[in-house]
């Protein structure tokens, strides 16, 4: 193998695929990056067997071939080189890859490309064309609600389901639920319902951050793998097998109190209250009161910590229905507010039932959080 690539391109390509390199694995080659000539380009690939990422960069191919090299080493090395052409060469029947760039030479011990796990392209199953901006927006509003512990594997993923030309993403960890819809240009030929590992979805969001070109999603017929095809890269993930809870019944249809408030103000008060809540209980109390006698409606955000003190902040809010109160874990509350902009409505039925957060003027998203059971009556 003999190729020449630009240092900037190689560095960018390694950065893309590096996210799929196995951190520690019993299969040593998964700590390597695959370098392989393909159709006049250089293909880079990495996999931890759950997720595989492939990227292509422009290259001058003098001699076809492939190899794998330790990901950390080559990434650090290439990252330190000046922006100049890099020559990569692997002699026939040799295990030493020779790299040369701007009078800097190195030799890296490689492992055979034939031993690198094969990443199957997916065909034959349903396919969707997705707008990258809308997809990223939807992912970023749900992925954080997925479970981080794997006691219930289905909850560690993002549930993706089509309903004609609507695609719904949902994630839940047993305490909260995020649901985001997006419209498809065309309804798929067959309906799709899969669970993608949250980590794969996060990597996808990163990969499509700067692209304008449509993303193609392919699912295999057995519903065991998904592939996302971008112009310069691809991501393949093993799907989570399991049943995602029927979450529609968890989205409250009614409310007794509805408060509409600026996300930034709500976020600011929550951040301050969280300082008091974080050393112990994490409890943040919200109390909503409608406007009366010339006084504006208000949302009170408060927290208290034994032996430290307490905090209370108030923001004007448009409050409909009756007065209401609810207590949330500070992290869950900050997470949802960080995913929103503009104005948000919070709908509450009673202090012990789920609260629903909806962005104002956007019916494609809802976030449901179960409250914390607290002794509301207890004044100190």
């Amino acid at each position: 193998m003999k190729v020449q690539v630009l240092q900037e391109n190689l560095q960018r390509g390694l950065g893309i695929v590096g996210r799929a390199v196995a951190a520690r694995s019993t299969l040593p080659i998964t700590g390597n990056v695959l370098l392989q000539t393909e159709d006049g380009r250089l293909k880079l690939a990495a996999t931890d067997l759950d997720i595989s990422i492939t990227s292509w960069i422009g290259a001058r191919v003098d001699e076809e071939g492939g190899t794998t090299v330790p990901a950390r080493l080559i990434t650090d090395f290439v990252g330190s080189l000046p922006p100049a052409p890099v020559d990569i060469q692997l002699a026939e029947r040799s295990r030493e890859v020779h790299l040369e760039c701007a009078r800097n030479e190195s030799t890296i011990n490689s492992m055979d490309a034939e031993d690198f796990p094969r990443i199957q392209a997916i065909s034959g199953g349903p396919t969707l064309q997705l707008d990258p901006k809308a997809l990223k927006h939807a992912i970023d509003r749900v992925d954080f609600a997925a479970a981080s512990d794997d006691s219930r594997p289905a909850l560690t993923g993002v549930h993706i389901k089509t309903d004609d030309s609507r695609l719904t993403l949902a994630a839940a960890d047993g305490f909260r639920l995020a649901v985001s819809d997006l419209e498809l240009a065309n309804a798929p030929e067959e309906q799709i319902e899969i669970i993608i590992p949250a980590r794969a979805v996060r990597e996808l969001s990163r990969l499509i951050a700067d692209t304008q070109d449509p993303v193609e999603m392919r699912v295999n017929a057995q519903r065991t793998q998904v592939q996302f095809v971008m112009v310069e890269s691809e991501l393949v993930a093993q799907l989570i097998q399991g049943v995602f809870p029927n979450y529609n019944q968890l989205i409250p249809a009614e409310w007794n109190t509805r408060a509409t408030v600026s996300v930034d103000e709500f976020k600011r008060l929550t951040r301050i209250a969280a300082i008091f809540a974080r050393d112990g209980s994490g409890i943040i109390r919200l109390e909503m009161a409608p406007a009366e006698e010339g006084e504006a409606g208000r949302l009170k955000v408060s927290a208290r910590a034994d032996e430290i003190g307490d905090n209370e902040g108030v923001v004007d809010a448009q409050v409909e229905g009756q007065s209401g109160k609810i207590a949330f874990n500070s992290r869950y509350l900050s997470d949802v507010l960080n995913a929103l902009h503009g104005e948000v409505t919070l709908e509450v039925t009673n202090p012990y039932s789920q609260g629903a957060f909806r962005p104002v003027g956007d019916s494609t998203y809802v976030h449901v959080i179960m409250p914390m059971y607290v002794d509301w009556g207890g004044e100190r």
Partner: protein, 392 residues
């Protein structure tokens, strides 16, 4: 001769009294406050009018409805009772730091060091009763004696709204004419066995020679004898101004290798600690398990699961995992001492799960409260039931 300095303060039908405060129109009626009104519901507290129909605490709601179909059945509302319970305990702590809460509505006090400051124990008891009536609006009964056991029987004897003082040296004669079931800490099986022996009153029990009790009840026999005479050594547990930890320990006379029994004890310890936390509106972040193997090999294990530990089942779940691991690692050897503690207190709170019904938590709080007040035999989890157990 020691003077009586131990007080048992018990709010009269606490939950019912609180309900009557906000619904005075129900006064004089059979009011029954239940933990859950459904299939699994249990009577928590009932008014004295309801007791006339045979309704009792810890009775299934279905049974209560049969005995008293005209009663007013209300769900328990801990949110509403909690501030009153807190105020109650705060009043007690003004008279001595030696306050041992025994649930949301009762506590033991030892005023031995406070008598010169506030007057004698009967005077302090009268003041406490007046303040509870004035400041909370409900009534309390107080028993005063030289120890917790007799003080408890005395407060029961004074109910409702009474004060009974048992002078030092009068304990046995005070107890003697009372029915055996008035003696606390006697389980239903022991009571049934004693009744077979013809024991009707506490005095009957006291008259049985220790040797006879020992041959029937083993090492427990001596303890029964002492209790019947009103002798009880366990002191009022001092509670520091703000406890850094709350715990329960059980040391066995005979080392125990029966896993079911150990788990049952752990469960009851968890309930007691949870009740103690509830009295102060606290939850814990960390649970500690203490295990001792003979002769004196002590293991301490702790866990901080991330979620707050508020209920008895929270503490039990976390402690049980520690117990199983530590006991397995020690070849499931006989255990001499088992203890459960909670530390890292923060305000009471519990993250609810999606779809979780809060009534489950309220029911558990009710059951925990009942177990602590009426002994662990009053309400049991299925796994604690053994052969020969029956509903008390």
């Amino acid at each position: 001769m020691p003077s009586p300095t131990v007080l048992h303060v018990d709010l009269d039908a606490f939950f019912v009294s609180m309900e009557l405060l906000r619904r005075p129109e129900l006064r004089g009626q059979a009011v029954i406050v239940c933990g859950g009104l459904g299939q699994r519901g249990v009577v928590n507290t009932c008014s004295y009018e309801a007791r006339r129909f045979g309704v009792r605490s810890a009775m299934p709601v279905s049974e209560a409805r049969r005995r008293c179909p005209g009663g007013v059945y209300l769900p328990s509302d801990f949110q509403y009772y909690a501030p009153a319970s807190k105020a109650f305990h705060a009043i007690l702590r003004e008279y001595t730091p030696a306050v041992e809460p025994a649930g949301t509505d009762e506590a033991y006090l030892d005023v031995a060091g406070s008598e010169r400051l506030f007057g004698g124990a009967p005077g302090i008891a009268a003041t406490i009763r007046r303040r509870i009536r004035d400041e909370i609006g409900i009534t309390a009964s107080i028993g005063v004696s030289t120890n917790k056991l007799v003080a408890k029987v005395a407060s029961d004897a004074g109910k409702p709204d009474g004060l009974v003082v048992v002078e030092a040296g009068e304990e046995a004669s005070f107890l003697a004419p009372r029915a055996l079931r008035e003696l606390p800490m006697i389980g239903p099986r022991t009571a049934a066995a004693l009744e077979q022996l013809g024991v009707r009153t506490i005095g009957d029990l006291a008259a049985i020679p220790v040797s006879a009790l020992e041959s029937r009840f083993g090492s427990h026999g001596l303890e029964l004898h002492r209790r019947a005479l009103g002798q009880y050594l366990a002191p009022v547990l001092h509670e520091r101004a703000r406890a850094r930890s709350m715990s329960r320990e059980t040391t066995f006379d005979t080392d125990v290798a029966d896993g079911q029994r150990l788990r049952g004890i752990l469960r009851s310890q968890a309930d007691h600690v949870a009740a103690q936390m509830a009295a102060e509106s606290l939850a814990a972040r960390t649970v500690t398990l203490k295990l001792r193997f003979p002769p004196f090999e002590t293991l301490i294990r702790s866990a901080t699961p991330g979620q707050l530990l508020m209920l008895g089942s929270d503490l039990y779940g976390a402690a049980l995992a520690l117990f199983e691991r530590a006991w397995d690692a020690n070849g499931r050897r006989p255990v001499r001492l088992l203890g459960l503690g909670a530390t890292g207190f923060v305000e009471a709170g519990r993250q609810l799960r999606l779809g979780e019904d809060v009534r489950g938590i309220q029911l558990e709080r009710t059951l925990g409260d009942l177990r602590v007040r009426f002994g662990s035999s009053a309400i049991r989890h299925g796994h604690q039931l053994g052969d020969g157990d029956h509903y008390p």
